[in-house]
C-alpha cells in the first residue's frame, strides 16, 4: 500500500469516526416508533396510491354518504354553496371568464380527494367516515364529474389509475420563467 492510499484510508476512518462522534453529541431523545404506532397516524396517500387502505365503494353507495354527510355544505350534486363547488367547471381554466376550480376541472389526482376527505371532512367531524364510505363518496364525486362510469368501483387498485382531466395542467415553478 502506498503512503498516499494509506493516508486516504486513515483520513476516511477519521471522517467516519468524527461523524459518529458528532451524531453521538446529538441529544438523541426521540423514542423509536413501532410500526403499529406509525400506522395509526400515517394517513397520507401519495399520487401513486401508496397508503390507500382496503375497502371500496361505488357512486351509488356514495350518493347516500353524500346526502347524509356532505350536502349541507356542498349542495346537491356538488354544486357548491355555502362551501366549495365540487362538480363542473371543466374547460373553464383558460379564457376570460373566472375559472371554476372543482375536483373535476382542476384537481390533478384522485388520490388527493381520498386523502383530503379522509383527513379533513366532514368539517364538523373529520376522520369519521369508514374506508368504504370514503371510497364511495369519492366515487360519487368523480362520477358526477363524468370521470368514472356509474358502475365503476373505487378501491386501492382502481383509484390511483383514474386519470383526472387536469392531470397535465401543472407546471413546476421556476423563478424568472
Amino acid at each position: 500500500m502506498s503512503m498516499r492510499s494509506a493516508l486516504l484510508i486513515a483520513g476516511s476512518i477519521l471522517a467516519t469516526t468524527s461523524a459518529i462522534a458528532f451524531a453521538a453529541e446529538s441529544p438523541n431523545l426521540g423514542r423509536v416508533a413501532t410500526p403499529e404506532e406509525i400506522a395509526a397516524w400515517d394517513i397520507s396517500i401519495g399520487p401513486d396510491g401508496v397508503g390507500l387502505p382496503p375497502g371500496g365503494g361505488t357512486p351509488r353507495q356514495g350518493e347516500a354518504v353524500y346526502a347524509a354527510r356532505c350536502v349541507a355544505c356542498h349542495a346537491e350534486k356538488g354544486a357548491g354553496k355555502p362551501n366549495d363547488q365540487l362538480v363542473g367547471g371543466q374547460g373553464s381554466l383558460p379564457g376570460d371568464r373566472p375559472p371554476v376550480k372543482t375536483v373535476g376541472s382542476f384537481w390533478p389526482y384522485a388520490t388527493t380527494v381520498f386523502d383530503y376527505v379522509r383527513r379533513a371532512m366532514p368539517y364538523n367531524e373529520s376522520k369519521s367516515l369508514s374506508n368504504d364510505e370514503l371510497y364511495a363518496v369519492v366515487a360519487y364525486i368523480l362520477n358526477l364529474n363524468g370521470i368514472i362510469a356509474d358502475n365503476d368501483t373505487m378501491d386501492e387498485q382502481t383509484l390511483p389509475k383514474v386519470k383526472m382531466p387536469n392531470r397535465d395542467g401543472f407546471v413546476t415553478f421556476s423563478r424568472g420563467k
Binding site: 397520507s44 355555502p82 362551501n83 376550480k101 389526482y109 388527493t112 368539517y123 407546471v171
Partner: protein, 422 residues
C-alpha cells in the same frame, strides 16, 4: 406617521417629485430647525388624577392600554365555521419590524385546536433509518436557535388581482404577513438523528388540527434553515400560531409552515396534497397552473400614511412602511409621491435581516395637494418589485396567490388616503 407642522427651510430641496425629502433629513443637523415650535395658543398643562393617586396593581400577564383597543385583527370565517379563514394584522397601527403576538396574522383550516402539550407528539418517519417520536419535554432539551422571520400567507395581497381597486386599506390588502422572533430546534438535527435515507427528497409535514393540514416540502429546505418553533417573540408559540410547535420555513409561503406540527414523513416525491394542488397554485391566462411556488417574492407597502389615517394639514410627515423578500435581504426601498414618475430612496431601519420584515422611512413635505404614494422594494438577488400592470401582464388575473405588486395610496387635498390603481 409623525407630523411636524413647521415650515421647512428653503435649502431642504425635494429629492423626488411632490415633496419627498432626503432620507437622512431627520438625522441631519438641520433637523432641529424643522422641529422648531409652532406659535400656539397657550394651554394650561393639566394635573391629571394619575399624577396624584397610586396606579393599578400588578397583573400576571400584561395587556395593551385600554386606549389601544382598535389595534386588533380583523377576520372572516368560511360559511358555517367560526375559526376557519384568516385574521389580519393591523399594520397601519403598528411600527417597527416585529409583530406583537396578539395581532400576528392567522390562517386556519379547521379552527384553533386546544392541544395538551403533555400528550402532543411529533413523529418523524418514512424514508429514515429509525422512525422517532418526540415529546415536547424531550425537544426542550435540544439546543435552540432563534430566527427573526416574516411569515406571509400565499394569498396575501390577492385583492390586487381584482379589476377595480378594493376600497380598503393595508390591513385588508396586506394583513396576512407578520414577523416574529421564532425560537426552537433545527429540524435538521432531528432528521439526522432519525437517519435520512438517500432516496428521500421531500418531507410531508402534517398538523394536529382537525383538518390535518399537510404540505410537501423539499428535503433540502428541511435540512437548511427549517426550525421546529417552540417560542414566538420570547413566549410559547400562541395557539393560533401552532402551539405547542410549528414548522418554520423562513421565506416560504405561510401555508407550508405547518402549525400544530405532529408528523413529518420523508418521501421520494411530493404527496400532492390538497393545498399543493387545488390551492396555492398560480393559474395563468392559458389555464396552466404554476405549482410549488415556495418563496414569497420581494414586496413592500407603505403603512403610514395609508387608508384610515388622515393627514392633518400640509407640512412635514414621515412616510413609513414594510418591505420583505423570501429570497433574502431587502437592499433598497424607493418611494414615490407622484404615482411612480419619480422615486427617492428610503432609509432602511436596522436591523435589515434576511427573510424578515424591514422597516423603511422617508421624510415628506406634503403641500396639501393631491398626491399618489407608492413604494418599490429591491432584494439582494436584484429582484425589483413589479408594478401591478407588470404583475398582471405576467400572471393574469386567474389566480389569487403570490401577489407582490406595488400598492398605491392616493392622498386627497383633504388628507384622506384611498387605495387606487396607478
Amino acid at each position: 406617521m409623525r407630523k411636524n407642522g413647521s415650515p421647512v427651510s428653503s435649502d431642504r430641496d425635494p429629492v423626488a417629485g411632490n415633496g419627498l425629502l432626503d432620507r437622512r433629513l431627520f438625522l441631519s443637523a438641520g433637523a432641529a430647525a424643522l422641529g422648531s415650535a409652532l406659535p400656539s395658543k397657550a394651554e394650561e398643562l393639566p394635573i391629571e388624577p394619575w399624577m396624584k393617586l397610586p396606579g393599578s396593581p400588578f397583573v400576571g400577564y400584561g395587556q395593551p392600554s385600554k386606549f389601544e383597543s382598535k389595534v386588533a385583527r380583523t377576520f372572516a370565517s368560511l360559511p358555517g365555521t367560526t375559526g376557519t379563514g384568516a385574521a389580519r394584522t393591523p399594520h397601519h397601527l403598528l411600527d417597527g419590524m416585529i409583530t406583537p403576538n396578539g395581532v400576528h396574522f392567522e390562517r386556519s383550516h379547521s379552527g384553533i385546536p386546544d392541544i395538551n402539550p403533555d400528550t402532543h407528539r411529533l413523529l418523524i418517519h418514512g424514508l429514515v433509518k429509525r422512525p422517532l417520536i418526540f415529546t415536547l419535554e424531550s425537544l426542550e432539551r435540544y439546543p435552540r436557535e432563534s430566527c427573526i422571520a416574516f411569515l406571509e400567507c400565499g394569498g396575501n395581497g390577492q385583492l390586487l388581482y381584482q379589476k377595480e381597486p378594493a376600497p380598503v386599506g393595508v390591513q385588508a390588502i396586506h394583513g396576512l404577513v407578520s414577523c416574529a422572533e421564532w425560537t426552537g430546534v433545527k429540524l435538521s438535527v432531528l432528521l439526522q438523528e432519525a437517519g435520512v435515507d438517500s432516496a428521500a427528497k421531500w418531507i410531508l409535514a402534517e398538523g394536529a388540527d382537525a383538518a390535518g393540514m399537510s404540505r410537501s416540502i423539499p428535503l433540502a429546505k428541511a435540512m437548511d434553515d427549517a426550525l421546529i418553533a417552540l417560542y414566538q417573540n420570547g413566549e410559547r408559540v400562541r395557539p393560533s400560531n401552532g402551539y405547542p410547535m410549528r414548522l418554520l420555513l423562513p421565506g416560504y409561503e405561510g401555508n407550508m409552515n405547518v402549525k400544530w406540527l405532529r408528523r413529518i414523513k420523508l418521501t421520494e416525491g411530493p404527496m400532492m396534497t390538497k393545498d399543493e394542488t387545488s390551492k396555492y397554485t398560480i393559474t395563468l391566462p392559458d389555464g396552466k397552473s404554476l405549482q410549488f411556488v415556495f418563496p414569497q417574492e420581494g414586496k413592500s407597502v407603505i403603512t403610514q400614511p395609508s387608508p384610515g389615517l388622515t393627514l392633518k394639514g400640509s407640512g412635514l410627515y414621515e412616510i413609513s412602511g414594510l418591505a420583505w423578500s423570501g429570497y433574502g435581504k431587502i437592499t433598497e426601498v424607493e418611494v414615490s409621491a407622484d404615482g411612480g414618475k419619480s422615486w427617492a430612496p428610503a432609509a432602511l431601519q436596522p436591523p435589515v435581516l434576511s427573510k424578515a420584515l424591514t422597516r423603511f422611512r422617508i421624510p415628506w413635505r406634503w403641500n396639501g395637494l393631491p398626491a399618489v404614494l407608492q413604494s418599490r422594494a429591491t432584494d439582494e438577488s436584484g429582484y425589483v418589485q413589479p408594478t401591478r400592470e407588470k404583475m398582471i401582464a405576467a400572471r393574469g388575473t386567474r389566480t389569487i396567490y403570490h401577489s407582490n405588486a406595488i400598492t398605491t395610496w392616493a392622498v386627497s387635498d383633504k388628507g384622506e388616503v384611498k387605495h387606487v390603481y396607478a
